[in-house]
Symmetry: C2
Subunit: 374 residues, 2 copies
């Protein structure tokens, strides 16, 4: 024993009496992460002292601290987060659940979430559902197992009864586990639920967009809306109609289309409208990628934007400024959406109530709209 001879009590044992699978001791350093006991024995102190030295919340003599730190260095010791979580408290991660990460808007939400989470010392778990509700169920379950501090469900949905039921279930299950459900860009299923809702003003943004077109003298606006039923789609449609009504413009049924948020959908609907001989001087696409399709169809038809037809989008994705012409669109604060969601979920005081917030949207005027009265 290499005890420093000042005590009869046994020095902390190197290993437990329990069996060790590994027979040759030389391998121990190689493939098994070193534990606090390894550090303790190497430093000739107890595990309690090592823990306290590293935590720095307890007086430790300089000499002991030095020995412990040296042992930590030489063993490349890092704490085992599972053990730490099991005993002391560990800040749970933030879980981000979305349909897909590659879309520019969702990527920005993710960036905001990651940044705010990191600022608060949390890790971010990112998962894609690919629009599969069963997968969403599994993920919420999984996040409960992981003790996630908050579970963020991001992206527009069809708010039917099944959706409400699922969200209610999630909210309660997470709440019971001390976590928090956060709905980002999707509606609350019911009032007084333990849920945080962070949304943005779809309706107001669409209102601004269409108002801008109407104020520029356009009267026949082809609306390339999102899917009917989808929350963001319906809200943007409502904002569009609000604006028509507010400006006393008749709502032409045939100009009010619905479809998916894809380039293809924008392309097809615009092309078909042109083929059908519909008259319009402007297009309001309910998303920038839809606008992309519209621009392609218009260009193909030999129409100039904004010379012949004006176009407005929605989202303000990064490339909107680089299109020809640069796209007038509605800016959605996606990154701020993510940050706010994390902030609200984590800094929630003991208020058990639900909390909602709606971030504003804002028209960004570029070059894809022409004033007709010029």
């Amino acid at each position: 024993m290499t005890d420093n001879g000042n005590s009869e009590r046994p020095i902390p044992r190197t290993g437990r009496p329990g069996k060790r699978k590994r027979t040759d001791a030389q391998q121990d350093l190689r493939d098994r992460p070193s534990t606090i006991r390894d550090v303790a024995s190497k430093a000739g102190v107890s595990v309690a002292t090592v823990s306290r030295t590293l935590a720095g919340n307890y007086p430790v003599s300089d000499e002991t601290r030095a020995r412990v730190m040296a042992a930590v260095e030489s063993l490349h010791y890092v704490v085992n987060v599972h053990a730490k979580a099991l005993s002391g408290r560990v800040a749970g991660p933030v879980a981000l659940v979305m349909k897909d990460i590659t879309g520019p808007s969702l990527a920005h939400v993710a960036a905001g979430v990651e940044q705010e989470a990191a600022d608060r010392g949390r890790l971010s778990l990112v998962c894609a559902t690919h629009d599969d509700p069963a997968r969403e169920d599994d993920l919420v379950q999984l996040m409960r197992e992981q003790h996630a501090a908050a579970v963020l469900l991001v992206g527009s949905v069809v708010p039917d009864e099944a959706y409400d039921r699922r969200m209610i279930g999630y909210a309660e299950a997470l709440n019971a586990a001390g976590s928090r459900l956060v709905l980002v860009g999707r509606p609350a299923p019911a009032p007084d639920l333990p849920v945080t809702v962070v949304d943005y003003d779809n309706r107001g943004g669409a209102f601004q967009a269409t108002s801008h077109l109407l104020a520029s003298g356009h009267r026949r606006v082809l609306f390339l809306g999102g899917e009917t039923g989808l929350s963001s789609g319906d809200e943007r449609r409502a904002g569009h109609r609000d604006a028509l009504r507010a400006h006393g413009v008749d709502h032409a049924e045939e100009l009010d289309t619905a479809g998916t948020y894809t380039r293809a959908s924008g392309y097809v609907r615009t092309r078909d409208a042109l083929r059908a001989g519909l008259e319009f001087t402007a297009v309001f696409a309910a998303s920038d990628v839809v606008a992309l399709g519209a621009l392609a169809a218009l260009r193909e038809a030999g129409l100039d934007v904004p010379g012949d037809v004006s176009v407005v989008g929605f989202d303000d994705v990064p490339f909107a400024t680089d299109l020809t012409p640069s796209l007038t669109t509605v800016r959605v604060p996606y990154e701020e959406l993510g940050r706010t969601a994390v902030r609200m979920a984590l800094s929630r005081t003991q208020a058990p109530a639900d909390d909602h917030v709606v971030l504003g949207t804002q028209l960004v005027i570029r070059r894809s709209v022409r004033r007709l009265d010029w």
Copy 2:
């Protein structure tokens, strides 16, 4: 006692003899996640039986199973992953460390990583470094604590000596902890290191791009390269020069520029080249966003693409097809890059050696290049 009366043995106790902070039992369900002991006591069995019932790796009578499942349901029990990790083995997460998540190419890598990880039953931790080496150090450390199965460092770098040292440290530290360092899109710091490298053929892609321009009759190609020193930038530059050499075209120093991978850089360099009166009939931008800037500058100068100047990009970001004109570019299999990285890191057999793979890149011909000899 609601025991079913068929045994004298004491039913498992409800709680441990140890002290409980909570005094009023009614609160127990509310804020503390229920444990396997809660389930066991509710079902009138031992914790071992509950564990085995849930794991399904041990014979359990139908009646017992039903009771356990009922208890699980009613208590909304989920296993505590930390406890599980401490005892049996739990598949560690995959950690993805990158400069920023919002870029289209990195987002696609992330999507590939997430998908492959999910397919293998792993969670994905996503972190942004914002190009801060110290943050990268912290994250690697953090991932070691988290027992990540693999740590993926994604994105081009300046491979200087400090970089090598850091990567070597990471590789060894992670390897010692049973994890694996994976470098994606960046070079290996040294041979025979426990590291997995997944890269793509920057040089070959650039060679194809410039070759395409030269084969189309262009002789003076403005090269908008990436930063000198940056691995991907240097490789693409090398590929470009290879092609010039292969086609016997003189390398004109003034046409070979370096800068950042930003739209602004592409814009400024193209504008300056035009102002300086440099003669060129084609532009090869070392990334699509740089091409975006070039397109804007050309347009501003009243030049038509591809009528007056041809343009080729690199990356094949999603919007490349939607530009005016659609952009001829080099496709990089970003998503596959992510998938491959995870696959290689996780399905690595006991081969302790380093393993490298280079994915191919491929020219995608669209409408931004004109044949000069027509």
